[in-house]
Structure formats: C-alpha cells, structure tokens
C-alpha cells in the first residue's frame, strides 16, 4: 500500500524529536481522529536551521512529518511556507488517496510553527492561501465525525 519511500521515512524517521527552546512550534490534528503532529523550528536569520517533529498518527503521517521536515531544513521561512502537501506526497513517491490528508497535516504543522515564530517576533501571521478542508479521512463525501 505504501511506496518504498514512505516505508523508509516511516521506519527511519528524519528529524524526530523535540527542540526544547524552539523559536516556533506548531501543533495540528485531533487525537479523536487519530492524529496529532507537532513541529519545532529553530530559525536563524530567517533560515530554518533546525527542525524536529513529534507525531501521533499513521504511517503516512509519520513519513509526511519526516519528509516535510527534511524539505524545509535550511530553507528561508518564505520558501518553507511554499512547501505544499502535494510536494511532500510527491517526494514520498505518492500516497494512497485516503492518506493525502496526512500530508496536509505536515503542511499545516509547518505553517503553524512559522506563524508561531512570526507572532513571537511581533510579525503578522501569514494567511493560508488554499485552506484545506477538514475532510479528515477524505472518504467520499463523509467527514470525520468527531
């Protein structure tokens, strides 16, 4: 069901852990839906020098956290903001349709962490360009019931 890349990132997650004195932290998800993702950033000169994640969720959620954090490491905040869930999924060599929302979590977690940093630094939070519907488990026209 999962690509080799997904399984690699799931079995050997990059950047797993926490940063105790992070410059920005973002938490998204909902335990009743079976997923929570927390992203920690260290920012120096507008550049993400360190990033860590903690994830409670499925294989796709873990792999997405791992891949997304890899993708934003060393990037400017502007560049990091542009990393979409689609890009994460593509870098993972695809996700099953019903698992696309797990990559959305990663995108949202990063956005939240960046805005946390911005707010702490007295900056306007950026607004989501394409807010994702919270059609959590993405099945047909049904939505997560909790």
């Amino acid at each position: 069901m999962y690509s080799e890349k997904v399984m690699d990132h799931f079995m050997n997650p990059r950047n797993q852990g926490e940063i105790t004195e992070a410059d920005g932290v973002g938490e998204v998800g909902n335990p009743t839906c079976g997923d929570i993702m927390r992203i920690f950033l260290t920012v120096k000169d507008n550049i993400i020098t360190e990033v860590k994640f903690q994830t409670f969720g499925c294989g796709a959620a873990v792999a997405s956290s791992s891949m997304a954090t890899e993708m934003i490491k060393g990037k400017t905040l502007e560049e990091a903001w542009e990393v979409s869930n689609k890009a994460v999924a593509e870098a993972l060599e695809g996700l099953p349709a019903i698992k696309m929302h797990c990559s959305v979590l990663a995108e949202e977690g990063i956005h939240k962490a960046i805005n946390d940093y911005r707010i702490k630094h007295g900056l306007e939070p950026w607004v989501e360009k394409n807010p994702h519907s919270h059609d959590h488990h993405g099945h047909e026209d049904e939505t997560c019931s909790t």
């Binding site: 938490e27 903690q54 499925c58 488990h137």
Partner: protein, 389 residues
C-alpha cells in the same frame, strides 16, 4: 530487511486452510467436477459429497442436515438471514433488533433495511461488550420480527449470552438469528438447546477455505430467498454448488469441533500468558472486552499515546501479523464502532491492537511478540506528542 520469521496472530481475520482440508478438496476440482443438478454418475458423486458436508455442518451445530444451506460466506449468510426474514415477515411487523457491536455484514444490512422502511433498534453494550438482557426485553414490541445478535464479537472477542437471548425470543415469538462466524470451533453450539432460529458461519475462520459459508435455518422458519435462479439448495439458494468449497467446509467444521476443547485450552493459556506479559511490561495499557467471557484466542489491548496503524506497520516489519481498531488503517471515518460502543474514548481506540491466536501459535511466538511489541510501543511513544507531554 524484512524479518524471516512470520508470527500470524490475526486468526479472526482469516485462517490458513488446513492442508488436510485442501487435500480433501482437490479431487473435486478436476476429477469429481460433475454438476450435482445433473443425473449421471459423476454428478451423483458430487451430490453425495455435498450431502455429506451438509451432515457434517448439521452435526457440528446440533441441527438437521436439511436445515443447512450453503452460501458464499458469512456475509451472504448474514444478508440472507436478515433480509430474508425481514421481507418474508413484513406483514407481521417491521421492527428488527440488533446490537451496536455487530459485524458490518449485519449492521450495514440493517441500515439498508432502514432505508426500505424497517425500523431497527441497536442495543447498546456494557463496557465488556455484552448486551443487557433487560435492554433486549424492553426493546421487543409486537412489531418485532427478528432479533440478530452475534455469538461472539470479532474485535474484542466478547461472547454474548446467546442461550438467554434465544429463550426470550422463543417466548416472545420472535425469530432469533446469530452471526456465529467467530464462534464456530471456539464455543460449543447447540442450536436446539440455545433456541437459535438462524445461524451464520464462514469456513475461512476455522481453517476452511474462503468463499464458502452456511446459513442454518430452523425448519418452518419463514424466509425469502436472497439469490434467485436455479433450484439448488432445495430451491432456497440458487447457483451451481461450489463442491470443493463445500467439501472443505464440511471437513473443516468436523475437525474444528473434534479438537475444540483441547485447542481452546492450549490457545487460551498462550493468550493469557501474553496478556500478563503485556500488562506487566508495558505501562498505560488496558484490556478491551470481557475479562472471562471471550474467545479463547482473542486479545484486544489499547496502548495510550500511540496509533494503531503505525503499530501494525512496525509489527509487520518484524513479521508479526495483527490488526487494530484505528480508523487510520482502513481510511474509514471512525475508530472501531465496537470499541466506541464499549465506552472507550476515540483516542484510546486508535491505539488498540488485536492479537488473535490460533492453531499454529507456540510459546516461542508469544515470547517473540512480547519482546517486539514492547520495543514497538516504546519507539512509537517516543515519537508521540501525547506521550511527550
């Protein structure tokens, strides 16, 4: 990279077909292939083989052979029982009673009937997963035509008070169907003593082949056909008989009953040892289902702070086959309706693991699973933002 060792602990999902059963099936593919509806010798031989299997199933249930009808599996048996009774008895009433923890083959069939104008009561269960007899009594009205309550639950293994339910239904003149797909070979069943009117079973859950099952229909029960067509199965279930499957089902159920007591003792001892090990070695863990009234091989535990699918993926990496009640595995919307019905919060249900032991499992398997499982749980908890708190 994948482990050489495979430990299969998902016997409630399906079982390996017993090689002796496969051997018994093989002659019926290319040699004894006659269509039992035909008249010539190889056809009569097929017919004889089908009738032998029918007797084997009847014996296992304490039924008469002419009360056994072969189907394509548990799902068809459940659909037939419920829709067949509903449509045939609509004039008598339009109310059906079931439980909140049935398999989807029952639940979705009931939901379908609701769309057709029937009214369905979904009885709640207590925290062990048992329906309360008083709830059942209260739910029966003069419109009730059918009670369908499973014999044993596929997720948490809880065994329902079937004989008591049967007694009440018979007294109140209501048909009683039980989905015994998980119970066959694990619990002694007597349809007469337990006053069961209809019972579903599926061969692949007791070391028989997939794609074959049966419905027991007590004589004189009024039921419509589900599959219309040829005159097979005394004109009640059309379709050319799956002879190898039927032969396999017959032998599998005979063998399952013959070894039941001894196997239950062995398997439940393994299961109990595994449970003890888990509860002792892994904190923040709880057992789901009934402490005693449960299937001998069933273990269902919840691990706080972690999610089931990632547990399964890691276990699979170590060659361990298991299942979970987390919604994330199936891409469905909610974690197991069964776990929720027992009052488990959704976040805990997401961290549930079902290990169902069976014929091939050994003491070494238990040791291996205990060891790997502990590692897996630790690893995932380390990753979890919930545990980190």
């Amino acid at each position: 990279m994948t482990a050489e060792r495979i430990v299969y602990m998902d016997h409630s999902a399906t079982t390996a077909t017993d090689p002796a059963v496969v051997d018994a099936m093989i002659p019926w593919f290319s040699k004894g292939y006659g269509n039992p509806s035909s008249l010539y010798r190889i056809a009569r031989e097929s017919k004889t083989a089908v009738e032998k299997a029918r007797s084997q199933v009847a014996t296992a249930l304490g039924a008469q052979p002419d009360e056994i009808y072969f189907t394509s599996g548990g799902t068809e048996a459940d659909n037939w029982a419920i829709k067949g009774i509903a449509f045939a008895n609509r004039k008598k009433g339009n109310h059906i009673i079931t439980s909140a923890i049935e398999h989807h083959a029952v639940l979705h069939t009931c939901e379908y009937l609701e769309k057709q104008g029937f009214s369905v009561t979904y009885l709640p269960v207590d925290e062990t997963g048992q329906v309360r007899i008083s709830d059942l009594k209260d739910a029966i009205t003069d419109q009730t035509i059918l009670v369908t309550i499973m014999f044993a639950n596929n997720e948490i293994g809880t065994i329902e008070p079937i004989a008591e339910i049967g007694k009440i239904c018979r007294e109140r003149g209501v048909y009683f169907h039980t989905d015994a797909v998980q119970a066959i070979g694990n619990v002694a069943i007597d349809v007469v003593a337990m006053q069961i009117d209809l019972l579903s079973l599926s061969a692949h859950k007791f070391y028989g082949p997939k794609g074959i099952g049966a419905l027991y229909i007590r004589k004189s029960v009024r039921i419509d056909n589900l599959l219309h067509g040829g005159g097979q199965e005394k004109r009640k279930r059309a379709g050319t008989e799956n002879i190898p499957g039927i032969v396999g089902l017959g032998l599998a159920i005979e063998r399952a009953i013959a070894r039941m007591d001894e196997q239950n003792k062995r398997v439940s001892a393994l299961r109990d040892r595994m449970l003890d090990g888990i509860l002792k070695n892994i904190p923040n863990t709880r057992l789901n289902g009934h402490p005693k009234e449960r299937l001998p091989g069933n273990l269902n535990v919840s691990f706080d702070f972690i999610e089931g699918e990632s547990m399964l993926l890691l276990l699979d990496h170590f060659g361990i086959c298991a299942s979970t009640g987390s919604a994330c595995t199936s891409g469905s919307l909610e974690p197991s309706h069964v776990l929720l019905a027992t009052g488990l919060p959704a976040e805990t249900a997401h961290g549930s693991l079902r290990l169902t032991l069976g014929a091939e499992n050994t003491d070494e398997d238990v040791d291996y699973v205990l060891e790997q499982l502990q590692k897996v749980v630790i690893r995932l908890r380390e990753m979890s933002p919930l545990y980190a708190d």
